[in-house]
């Protein structure tokens, strides 16, 4: 989730209000307040006042800016949100933007507004751009569903048109370039064209925003015009537009931008969008637009979820102090989120806001009292018992990564192309070293042996852990099973030494077993056996083949066994 950079003095001035929190916030106070926004302080530079804050809630893009953080804190201090007048859906919008037919096939929705009276500073501009980027990148899924443009208002003549044009029909100088380019040139040459061009599936007709004098504002979602769409420090009249594929998300993004600019002192004027056909909000949509629908929630439901009696008044106060519009009636509250939020899916979302508004510290922990019996799974019990026995037999336990390489698990083991050598492989490989799951444990032990020739001998190693065995008959394509592997390495080790260990292990596990000679590429022929319990194979034992040792660069004889505990559990 986004991490943003803001400045302490900026935050302080945004917090200053009639009730006046304001200057000289301590870090402890700040961390306390950040709980209201699920923010975590990741860094602080006391000299520049720079703060790095991670915002956890991916459903609250309104909090991904200094203005948003300050707003949530301010509401808590003032007890309620001062409503923004420009969200009222009544007054007529002074400006117009027309959407031409065909846009519904490409990037159907747009929202826009103007902001006057806030003079942009260098720092303020950086904050504006940060908000624009975080919204488009994370909330807007890398501009796919939402992208945002900011312009110098005085250069624009209303009404604006949003339409499709042929790739070579329109040309303008894009941001970051010196020369005039056609839309297709931008797609082929401009860094943003190369980065975001794929969003426009159809390249024969491309979206453009132009004003009444036919000047291009922007080629959404790629790049703005340099003449109109480059905001500089000192500008105090701005035009903001959002285009995208999801109407509520487009409107929400604009709402957030409008609220942020208003908090910095700008006067917001709405723009009326005229669609060729009706949208879910009608044919004419005034933006910014309040999407909020009141949710009626029984006080009892809130109290039950929180485990605490609160009563109507407390719930109402808590929600108002978190920005909601609230009316209480007959054991229920009717709550509406402010227009810069659109994250209520379920009443539990409101419940959490009540808890956060009051502060989690206000709730006394209570122990769950219902009685339950604890215990381990049967396979874990068998695994633990085996581990105890192996330790008693003088073996050192090992713990390994499960994700490894085909070299380790198959090739070094001489299992390439055999049934034993099959593994669950990763499709999107990042590194060959981590590209498949182990299908047995012995390679994990040889990994240690190969790296530990300096550790004094003898080496007795074991690991009990999960493996994934490919199995076409299983619904997941593989079985996850628990396997116990063990090895002995020293100059004079031989088959009967590991056989003795296996014999003792199986005796105490209460499993009757027999060995059947087998040919297994990882072991010396004539010194390898299949371990059978009730006639079913549960593992292998033998002297590790010298060629295997050579491939691992191990210069010490090794004997080993590998027992499938999951299968053993079902037998004998």
């Amino acid at each position: 989730m986004p991490t943003i950079t803001i400045f302490k003095d900026d935050l302080e001035s945004l917090l200053t209000s009639d009730r006046g929190a304001g200057r000289g916030i301590t870090m402890a106070q700040l961390e306390e307040w950040l709980m209201l926004v699920k923010g975590e302080l990741k860094g602080h530079n006391p000299e520049t006042g720079e703060l790095r804050i991670e915002l956890q809630d991916s459903n609250r893009p309104d909090l991904w800016s200094c203005e948003g953080i300050a707003r949530q804190i301010r509401i808590k201090q003032e007890g309620r949100l001062k409503p923004y007048s420009f969200f009222e859906n009544k007054p007529k919008a002074p400006h117009h933007l027309t959407v031409k037919p065909g846009m519904e096939q490409v990037r159907p929705y747009v929202a826009a507004c103007t902001a006057r009276g806030f003079r942009v500073t260098e720092k303020g501009l950086a904050q504006l751009i940060q908000t624009q980027e975080k919204l488009a990148d994370i909330f807007g899924r890398k501009r796919k569903t939402v992208s945002i443009g900011i312009y110098q208002l005085p250069r624009i003549a209303f009404p604006i048109t949003y339409e499709l044009v042929k790739p070579d029909e329109v040309r303008f100088t894009p941001l970051g370039m010196e020369t005039v380019m056609t839309l297709s040139e931008i797609l082929m040459v401009h860094p943003k064209g190369l980065e975001y061009g794929h969003i426009l599936a159809v390249k024969s007709l491309l979206p453009i925003l132009r004003d009444a004098k036919n000047q291009p504002l922007s080629f959404p979602p790629i790049i703005n015009s340099r003449e109109i769409g480059e905001v500089r420090a000192g500008d105090d009249e701005l035009f903001v537009e959002v285009t995208g594929t999801d109407l509520p998300m487009v409107i929400l993004s604009l709402n957030i931008f409008a609220a942020n600019l208003a908090d910095r002192g700008a006067t917001i004027e709405p723009v009326e969008i005229q669609y060729p056909t009706s949208t879910t909000l009608g044919k004419r949509v005034k933006t910014p637009h309040d999407l909020g629908k009141p949710k009626t929630i029984r006080i009892k439901a809130i109290e039950q979820a929180l485990g605490q009696e609160l009563g109507e008044t407390v719930v109402k106060q808590a929600l108002e102090a978190y920005g909601y519009g609230v009316s209480a009636e007959k054991g229920s509250v009717k709550a509406t989120v402010p227009p810069y939020r659109h994250d209520l899916m379920h009443i539990m979302d409101v419940v959490e806001d009540v808890a956060m508004s009051r502060g989690y510290a206000e709730f006394t922990p209570v122990m769950p009292v219902q009685f339950t019996v604890g215990g381990l799974s049967a396979i874990e019990r068998l695994s633990d018992r085996s581990r105890e026995l192996m330790v008693g037999l003088g073996f050192q336990e090992i713990i390994s990564n499960i994700l490894g390489s085909p070299d380790q698990y198959s090739k070094f083991m001489r299992l390439d192309g055999t049934e034993w050598g099959r593994t669950v492989e990763v499709d999107n490989v990042m590194s060959l070293s981590f590209s498949c799951l182990r299908q047995w444990v012995l390679p994990s032990l040889l990994r240690i042996e190969a790296a530990s020739s300096r550790a004094f001998y003898p080496h007795r190693l074991f690991e009990a852990g999960d493996v994934a065995i490919p199995d076409g008959t299983h619904e997941l394509g593989s079985r996850t099973e628990t396997v116990l592997g063990a090895l002995i390495a020293h100059a004079t080790t031989h088959f009967s030494e590991i056989h003795s260990s296996l014999d003792v292990l199986f005796y105490y596990l209460g499993k009757e077993y027999s060995l059947e000679p087998m040919q297994h590429p990882s072991f010396l022929e004539g010194r390898a056996g299949r371990i059978l319990v009730s006639g079913k194979p549960v593992g292998v034992i033998g002297e590790v083949h010298p060629e295997v040792l050579e491939r691992w660069q191990i210069a010490m004889p090794v004997v080993a066994f590998d027992v499938n505990l999951s299968q053993l559990a079902t037998l004998g």
Binding site: M1, M35, K38, Q56, S58, I138, A305, L306, G307, L344, M345, H346, I347, M348, V351, E352, A355, M356, Y360, F363, P365, V366, M367, P368, V369, Q370, F371, T372, V373, G374, G375, L376, S377, R387, M390, V391, G394, Q396, E397, I399, N401, L403, V424, E425, V426, D427, N428, M430, L437, I448, S452, A455, F456, A468, E475, L476, G477, S478, R479, T480
Partner: protein, 521 residues
Amino acid sequence: MDIFTVIDSLHPLEIKVLTTLGAAPPGTALSSEQLAAAAELEPSQLSMAVEWLLAKSLIAIQTETVTPIVSLTKIGEEYYLTASPLERVLAAAREATGTGTRLTIPDLQAQGGLDPSDVSKAVGRLKKEGALLIIQGGCIETTGRQSPTAEAIRTLLAEMHDSPKELKSFTGVHRQVIEDFAVKRGNAKEPFRVDERVARSFILSTDGASAAKQLLKQGVAEEVSQVTPDLLKDGSWRQKRFRKYTISLRPPRIGTGKKHPYREFLDTVKTKLVSMGFLEMRGALVETEFWDMDALFMPQFHPARDIHDVYFVKEPSHTTAADEPFLSRVAKVHENGAETGSTGWGYSFDVHRAKRLVLRSQGTAVSARTLAASPNIPGKYFSIARCFRYDQVDATHATDFFQVEGIVLGEDINFRTLLGLLNLFAHEVAQAKEVKFVPAYFPFTEPSVELHVRHPHLGWIELGGAGLFRSEVTLPLGVTVPVIAWGLGLDRMAMVALGVHDIRELFTDNLELIRTTRGLF
């Protein structure tokens, strides 16, 4: 030191020497040979015992004489079997003179068996004695005269073969030849060696005399190094003396059977959870996106479901399981909330995507499957599940790691009992007395909370995350009571307990490190 302490510290060889000396009339000096014979010791045993006793000042040297002894070197023994270079050169020259063949020094040097420098030295000696002549062209001829040196060497070799002699027993020419042909510094290739044999005689010191007296008085118990079954069987240990060991030395290292410290740490956590009434759940390493994410109400467009965050399985790519009725129900909840009271995410759910196989990316997948499998109500469950993330491996990120997490189901579950449970974890798992609950965000819980605790050694740390499962998660899986979902982040605690600073060291391949790490839990 008192005399008994001295006696206790004596090695059996020392006792033999002391008692031998003590048995002779007081003041008698005995030579090494006499001592060895009387005490029945090998020369090497005697010399060890004598050195120890001298070091303890229990005996003193009465006389010391140095006798030069001559013996054959390895080369000398070879000459004895073949012939000395002098004789061989002389024989070759005689043969050449007899047959009229020209023989030069290089010819001789080219013949096998003799070192060029030996040839030069032999020719020089023979020429000096007049037994050889070097004529024009560097040819060698015999004069018919004998070489006294060659004869002396032959006699000496025969005389000293296998029996060294005192140097003073030789006189005249023989003595001179020995000195000329003896090993000296810078010339090791000679047939004779002169060694100095030191002959010493010893007497008891005052302390030694009283120790010997005491030893003779108490009778010598035979000293043995070990208690053996035979000694125990016939009770003869009573007559034995057990030599004392120097026990302050470091012992030899042994390889021991031992649990891995990280597993041991996880075992303690497991035991704690069972003691708190939690049942263990198990799951598969390979999961479907459905159980790993969809069932947890993570929308299919969620950034954490990206190809850069999850490992996808190559073959087969999709499950054959229908996972009904859950799949249809979850799909509807994602789309419009269905009967959960939720609006849903409002997008079109891709059923095929839900069947995609991945490497389990979170332990909550195990909890989701448990919810769908008619869990106990009330019920508490945990799992310690291996999970995989598509991360670059570094000091804080491993490709696969353990997640400790679980669920609690019950009618009495609410936000405050959630906090109560976390309090319990803080006390039991981290021995923390101070806790802080911080609002958090997880896609599948609401409300969500992070548990911060003041760890006795680490200060404030984030111990875990938890929340109440959303109805969008529980209802489609058939669970109608509230459910706590919790997870503990224990890697940092484990690393501190194990004294490692790199998460990769938890899975180290360094056996020496594994053997020597002592977990402090």
